[in-house]
Symmetry: C2
Subunit: 413 residues, 2 copies
């Protein structure tokens, strides 16, 4: 029931020079499904990532942070990523950490690299031990079938409750040089700002210095994966990774001030937004794709507060599901978003182009049929003007349906 | 589908000397239902209230605050409360405020009191004009059928999506004098801390000075109505009112330091907790009543943060609905509750008496069947020990079911 999910043609996902992808059916939780992915990166690439803010972060997240820190301190570069689905290796304490390290060691042994050159990722059920023997047994298969054109298979290999694989690819010209970008993402529930049970991997063949890539990954995440919410739950495992292989003819980008950086930044951010929005479009039980845009705030923080209050409200979300213009629920959410000195008399609320509320109440010209017309659409924009300043923020979310409850009530069974 | 909702015998709801209650069928939104309630209070009573923190507070809330402020400045005491269901008179701007004042004026005219001696309350749909003519037309009927024994009818008259009327009553002996307390509440959705679409009215016949009653209403609300959540939405209309008629033989309570105050405070708080918990038991679509108790926090605020993160998580709530001990979702909620320096290695999570998680992971002695046994119950306690200090907080919530979605997708239709 994904919402206006674009058709993805595997043949249109460009290889990125310097990256190969291979998967295995390792039977981590269920048989006969791709559940292990290995992404190999040629020597000389730079890699950067942002991770969940959840204090109960998963063991692989801890290990990723350690290994990336080591690179920043001058250690050897990252050469491989390994992802398993079916088990999050989160809430697993010290034994979970040992298992994550063991995964890296085993892949390193098989690939002839050092353990700290491997980044591990897990997604799935929390609080259960990761079946490390099955994962290790699957690694040779994943390594054996690596290839540069496997982006679509890779997208399938990281799915959990996703109903569709999520991938995007494009080529851009920067300073006359072609740069190729391809990426995959996964996630459908437990999705909220500051990462969610979402994984995103985006590779491109430009060369980017480590500090610049560190800045770029944060810039892109803050405008993409950190702007989506399905249910307000921030996962333990969220990770978004950029891989810059440096194989294109574009000279290396060593400063965030260069025009080439700006061009690459915009291309990466736009693709990250696409990958993030694919997650919302395939949100658990989603029937509507909703953009919440808050304008005229005193600062971005309060705009995001209001946007998330609307985007998280079960009452607002069920009204969207019902196509019911019960728009007072949006006003209520704005009111409790936590802006203590909000002057409700200055707030305006639009549904697409329809001015619903102003001057603390319903717009006198508002007609129920206008609201009804917008609510019936599968893509809806809620626009709120706070009348306090020039800041703005946008998030993307979906409605709350019967299927959301069914999916999450049945997830483990 | 209310959860272990106690059978309420109308005959067991004691009259409170100095209070009469009358209702009308005023056809505010739907025909043939009690939708207007008038509570009359004899001269000499003190009245205090706490109200929603929502910035889009309803017009009647604004008027209540004004009228209570006037009393505190030495004006005449409150003599009547008027409640309508079917329309919240919220998000209605200046016209809504005029309508709320007109309601007070009309009731005052009919009852021979001043408009500022009336407190108005509304609950129902937001953003639609209150049909003031119907409300005014219903007032004579409500005044005509007032009586001291009408607490059960009064509880019925304030219901919206509630499936059952909510009332409680008891008598306590303080310093050898009998004090009688009776109260009603309503609310089923849009329920969150700092009040919700909930109304609570609690009257007793002790005499209490205004400043003491102001303190008491806050004390009781903070330990009852401000500790429940159904869906995390804070309503525009929430109000909790204490009425102290002063008709009992107990000498007036003029200090929060007196033993009589302590006894009354505990009786009022306990009854407020009962009335608040009735709201959760009748929560929209609720099938489980869940107590979330967070202990060993550095302060009460962080304990509440953690408790609400658990209580609001749709993933946790659907797991309870499914009786699925998918308890990693609780760990994830603790992790994203916002305690930046939380040491997850010190956190312990219990489900009733079952120790589920410790030392950052699953308790080695935990067995799935123990978790399953607790999850199948209709009353479940989640206990979290943070290992940071001595503070604690408790909230009450319910699960998230298919019926919640149905009720809120269909509310206006």
């Amino acid at each position: 029931m994904a919402v206006n999910f674009p058709s993805i043609d595997p043949a249109q996902l460009h290889p990125v020079a310097g990256v190969t992808l291979g998967w295995a059916e390792a039977n981590i939780r269920k048989p006969n499904r791709k559940d292990v992915l290995v992404i190999s990166v040629e020597e000389g690439a730079t890699v950067a990532g942002v991770f969940t803010s959840n204090r109960f972060c998963a063991a692989p997240v801890t290990v990723c942070r350690e290994h990336l820190a080591r690179v920043r301190e001058g250690g050897s570069g990252i050469r491989a990523l390994v992802v398993n689905t079916g088990n999050a290796n989160a809430g697993t304490g010290e034994p979970g950490l040992a298992v994550a390290r063991e995964t890296c060691a085993e892949l390193a042994r098989l690939a002839g690299i050092a353990p700290e050159q491997v980044l591990p990722f897990s997604t799935g059920v929390i609080l259960e031990p990761l079946p490390i023997d099955r994962l290790k047994a699957g690694l040779p298969q994943a390594l054996a079938n690596r290839g540069p054109a496997h982006w679509y298979d890779a997208a399938q290999a990281i799915m959990t409750t996703d109903t569709l694989p999520k991938a995007a690819s494009r080529q851009v010209t920067i300073d006359g040089h072609t740069v190729t970008l391809s990426g995959i993402s996964k996630g459908a529930g437990m999705i909220k700002p500051n990462m969610a049970t979402m994984l995103g991997f985006l590779a491109f063949d430009a060369a980017v210095a480590q500090p610049v890539l560190d800045a770029l990954v944060k810039h892109a995440a803050d405008r993409s994966f950190n702007c989506i919410t399905i249910d307000g739950d921030t996962s333990t495992n969220d990770s978004f990774i950029l891989i810059a292989t440096g194989k294109s003819s574009l000279p290396a980008i060593t400063s965030t001030e260069s025009p080439a950086y700006a061009a690459l930044r915009d291309a990466v951010t736009e693709m990250a937004q696409t990958l993030a929005q694919l997650i919302v479009r395939d949100g658990e039980g989603a029937t509507k794709f909703i953009t919440v845009q808050v304008e005229q705030g005193a600062n971005v923080g309060e705009c995001r507060q209001v946007a998330y209050a609307i985007g998280h409200s079960p009452l607002v979300k069920t009204a969207f599901y019902a196509s019911d213009p019960n728009l007072g629920r949006i006003l209520a959410a704005i009111g409790y978003a936590g802006i203590a000195d909000l002057d409700v008399g200055k707030v305006e609320v639009y549904l697409d182009d329809v001015l619903v509320a102003r001057a603390g109440g319903r717009n006198p010209d508002y007609r129920e049929e206008d609201g009804q017309r917008v609510m019936k659409k599968s893509e809806i924009a809620v626009r709120v003007r706070l009348g306090r300043g020039d800041a703005q923020a946008t998030i993307w979310t979906c409605d709350l349906s019967h299927d959301y409850v069914s999916i999450n009530a049945d997830y483990r069974s």
